[in-house]
Symmetry: C2
Subunit: 253 residues, 2 copies
């Protein structure tokens, strides 16, 4: 990944929109991407409708360095993600021999013709086995089910435990420059500090400044966050803002 | 709302994408909309960037009966939602006299010129005070801060406790026909029941059938859900599927 890599997440599944299942995968991936230094710029949640998925993939892929999809990759009628990703890039669906071999080995006599559909992937897809496992050794092709990658779209499964395991296999491929975050807690409300925040935003380009009122906090009213890839610059912005706000500053961290 | 009303949610805020704040508002609204019978079709999470918000509003508004935005409506530099919504509909921003009067009353001598910006809303917006409170009495204009509605876009604040209170004020405006949900738990895996699910999907249009593997469940492997606005039809589909799957059915609910 480039040092200032960007990403989007596309969650696929009616169950997320109907409230039957609480999202766990975006919640996990948001934190992982932040720790890796990848700037997550957009999340979309769409139903199991091929056209919706195709439209989202087509819109997101050119805008961000990486797009992670979650869900819709099993053997049932609502598992439409790979066909929809293929359509987004005008690719055919082809049966991949390595995946077919793994399925035949794994299922043995229990294999149904239908199960082989899981080996059907976009013609331009590649299989990503991960750079290195916990022991620093890359998984060998055929030993684990790979992540299917189509251009910059990483197709991950919806079941949270498998989603996490698959992402962990490929995580190190996404390490970018770290994002440094600081915070300042203000006893004065947002209206009182808004002018100072405007000045800080103008004076420190490259530092992303956020302002979040907390109604229930014991000793402050607003948390101001400062983030950027240049740690010295973030620290300078914090010091500048702390001096400007003076007695309103409860603490910084 | 029409009996088969649809909705989308647009969450606005860098803090959601950086993982500084866990979303609570979509999580709340997903359940509320389901209980009201409104079919939620899409969620987008975008940063505090006016063009991103404008593009999303412009794309979502014509596709769904209602669009709910969350965040970006305070007095600071990152509060850009109302200007972005105005831009989506090519409206100007105007100072609304009712809102200005409320701010002047509320702040009294402490009012800063800047605070009046919160009275600046799209020229085509209307103020919605809610149909009826818990006591069945509508809030009177001027007594509470209203929800700002621009065409079918409902602009709600990001602070979760206020988001909930505001939505509860207008909730009854969105009541649609109820969605009936049933479920079937299968001891057989997804691959084994996929053909039967295909047949059920074909035989029962109007019934939305979902299939969700549960790796850690004690006595089943797949939860199949059946949803629709016609309760009899949903029950028929469940009975048909249970007969088809026979001994694989652990239970239904």
């Amino acid at each position: 990944m480039s040092p200032d890599a960007t990403a989007a997440i596309l969650l696929i599944g009616n169950e997320l929109l109907s409230g039957k299942v609480d999202d766990e995968n975006a919640r996990f991936l948001i934190r992982e991407l932040r720790a890796l230094g990848v700037s997550l710029r957009r999340i979309e949640v769409v139903p199991d409708v091929p056209e919706e998925i195709t439209d989202s993939v087509r819109a997101l892929s050119p805008r961000f360095d990486a797009v992670f999809t979650s869900g819709g990759v099993g053997p049932t009628h609502d598992d439409v993600t790979l066909h929809a990703v293929a359509a987004a890039f005008s690719m055919d669906i082809v049966r991949h021999p390595d995946l077919e071999a793994m399925l035949r080995r794994g299922y043995g006599d229990r294999l149904r013709e239908r199960d082989l559909r899981m080996a059907d992937i976009p013609s331009g897809a590649r299989l990503e086995y991960g750079r290195a496992g916990a022991a620093g050794v890359a998984a060998s092709p055929g030993s684990v089910w790979p992540v299917i990658v189509v251009r910059n779209v990483w197709v991950l499964p919806g079941v949270p435990s498998i989603f996490r395991r698959k992402f962990e296999n490929v995580r190190e491929l996404f390490r970018a420059a770290p994002i440094h975050g600081r915070a300042l807690y203000s006893a004065a409300g947002e209206g009182s500090i808004a002018d100072a925040l405007d000045e800080a935003v103008a004076a420190f380009p490259g530092v992303d400044i956020g302002s979040y009122p907390h109604l229930d906090a014991p000793d402050y009213r607003v948390k101001v966050t400062l983030d950027g890839r240049d740690a010295a610059r973030v620290n300078d912005a914090l010091a500048w803002l702390a001096a400007k706000l003076g007695a309103a500053v409860v603490r910084t961290d």
